[in-house]
């Protein structure tokens, strides 16, 4: 009896035994987050640890804003990798292009939601933002460029890049065929369609790269241009934001690529060359970021104003020292791990050093974002108020955990219904060969 072996692409997530428990746990965490947010909505911001500056001795921006910056930072590497793959023809990284695009879209949505969580009256805040925003304010740039323009551009990019795979999967009779057909929107893989797509991808990439640098710099300017805020006012804020964004995003991509390689069993497509490129990029960006940290530290300690030095003293030896030195230790350990993995052949057999480095830089990035946002408010008062303090309340932890769970759920859900690794395109590969 003849047997037909039907080899469907395996780049779509399989609903293995572990998928459902993971989703159940994430749903539970999301539920706790929603409960925390409802508490905040019903009781007001007093349910959080956020308090007014000065007389109330608190911080008006805390864990939420730290995570807004973290999420936007994660999105940076996603779309920049996707755009650079197209512009610089980095074919080694092509298999993670879609993963990077999805990471960007999800992180920008999470960033927008975190801002809503930070607003005591979300509806009023959102309406007033659109009503009164001034172009001179970095907030205008942050919300128009980052949250709307950048998110919309990333969604357009993800959608158009996925049309071919949607058409292929729909033609193969894959599950969720109706959804796939809607995505494909009549794509027939003709030469004219391919040519149009090549042009669109190129110009979208050209538009996205400067926009994302502008967007992340603007986010840095929200802090860096506040002349009356010691610890924030610095010319290095914008470039350092871009650097740390790249570090955290690349670290997350390494972790996601390693998970995809293991769960989808794709050691050939997600091969050593891809991880070597990602590891090298992360290593170089991390060194550049540490250089920025050192320059800022020396400038503030030696020539900063009295208030500036007080904030630095709090970071280096005060109440925030444990977090500051933990972040620095995490970054330095990541440098050592990456260097070891890149140089020592016996370490390259395993991806664990890379994955650990990816996780460490992300933990470090969260800590650094918190340390940028909070100490200046509690210990950088120019007016004669006593030192303040800030500790996130359980509602804030719950909301942030819920958002992280939501992000993971969206990613897992996407990977379940759509090829998270682009399907091989033999036509395109043949065309690019000399």
């Amino acid at each position: 009896m003849a047997t037909t072996v039907r080899t469907l692409p395996t780049e779509r997530g399989r609903g293995g035994r572990s998928w459902y428990p993971v989703v159940a746990i994430l749903l539970l965490v999301l539920g706790v987050g929603i409960y925390g947010y409802l508490q905040e909505l019903s009781e007001g911001m007093v349910a959080t640890g956020l308090r007014n500056l000065g007389p109330q001795g608190g911080a008006t921006w805390g864990l939420y804003i730290s995570f807004v910056i973290y999420f936007v930072g994660l999105s940076f590497a996603g779309i920049s990798i996707a755009a650079l793959i197209r512009l610089a023809r980095l074919d080694t990284l092509r298999p993670i292009a879609r993963m990077a695009e999805v990471l960007t879209v999800i992180c920008l949505m999470l960033a927008a939601m975190t801002i809503v969580a930070d607003l005591g009256q979300p509806l009023r805040g959102i309406v007033n933002l659109f009503r009164y925003a001034r172009p001179q304010s970095p907030f205008f740039g942050t919300f128009t460029m980052v949250i709307s323009g950048y998110l919309f551009a990333s969604m357009v990019y993800l959608y158009l890049e996925g049309r071919r795979d949607a058409a292929v999967r729909a033609a193969q009779g894959a599950p969720y065929a109706r959804f796939l057909r809607v995505w494909a929107a009549g794509y027939a893989d003709t030469e004219a369609e391919r040519e149009r797509h090549r042009r669109t991808s190129f110009w979208l990439s050209v538009a996205i790269v400067p926009m994302l640098v502008t967007a992340h710099s603007t986010l840095g300017f929200v802090f860096g241009l506040q002349v009356g805020r010691p610890g924030w006012y610095s010319a290095l804020q914008a470039p350092a934001f871009v650097m740390l964004a790249g570090v955290s995003g690349l670290g997350m991509l390494i972790v996601l690529a390693a998970i995809a390689r293991r769960t989808l069993r794709l050691p050939e497509r997600l091969g050593p060359g891809l991880f070597r490129s990602l590891g090298l990029f992360l290593f170089l960006l991390l060194l550049a970021y540490l250089y920025f940290v050192a320059v800022e530290l020396l400038t503030n300690v030696y020539t900063g104003s009295v208030r500036e030095r007080e904030v630095m003293a709090e970071l280096l030896g005060g109440g925030y020292a444990w977090l500051y030195w933990s972040a620095i230790a995490g970054f330095v350990a990541s440098v050592a791990l990456l260097l070891g993995w890149l140089v020592l052949a016996r370490l390259r057999g395993s991806l664990w050093p890379l994955v650990v480095a990816g996780l460490l830089v992300n933990l470090g990035a969260v800590a650094k974002r918190f340390l940028i946002v909070v100490p200046s408010q509690t210990n950088g008062q120019l007016l004669p108020y006593s030192e303040g303090s800030y500790a996130p309340a359980w509602t804030e932890y719950a909301v942030v955990a819920g958002l992280l769970a939501l992000g993971a759920l969206l990613f897992l859900g996407f990977a379940k219904v759509f090829p998270i690794i682009p399907l091989p395109d033999h036509k395109d590969a043949a065309r690019r060969e000399p």
């Binding site: 009503r131 925003a133 172009p135 001179q136 128009t144 709307s148 323009g149 551009a153």
Partner: protein, 79 residues
């Protein structure tokens, strides 16, 4: 210039036009603030107009790729 390109370029130009209009003419005036008028937008929701402009520029990419050839062919005799 074919109809597809005409439509796409129109969207891009209108999108950038809306951004410029919102930024320079509808939002709060640029320059050193001397009175309270510098804090008020000249037209409420100017920021939204700017965002619509940004969206329109990027939506042009979707129109460029998705506009079916047969739609363009059908439109041709009408012009």
């Amino acid at each position: 210039m074919n109809a597809r390109r005409f439509l796409v370029w129109s969207m891009i130009l209108i999108g950038f036009g809306l951004q410029a209009l919102a930024y320079l003419a509808l939002a709060a005036p640029l320059g050193t603030p001397t009175d309270v008028s510098f804090s008020e937008p000249r037209m409420p929701f100017a920021a939204l107009v700017f965002i619509v402009g940004v969206g329109m520029v990027f939506a042009a990419a979707i129109v460029y790729e998705l506009l079916p050839d047969r739609w363009l062919r059908r439109r041709k005799p009408q012009r």
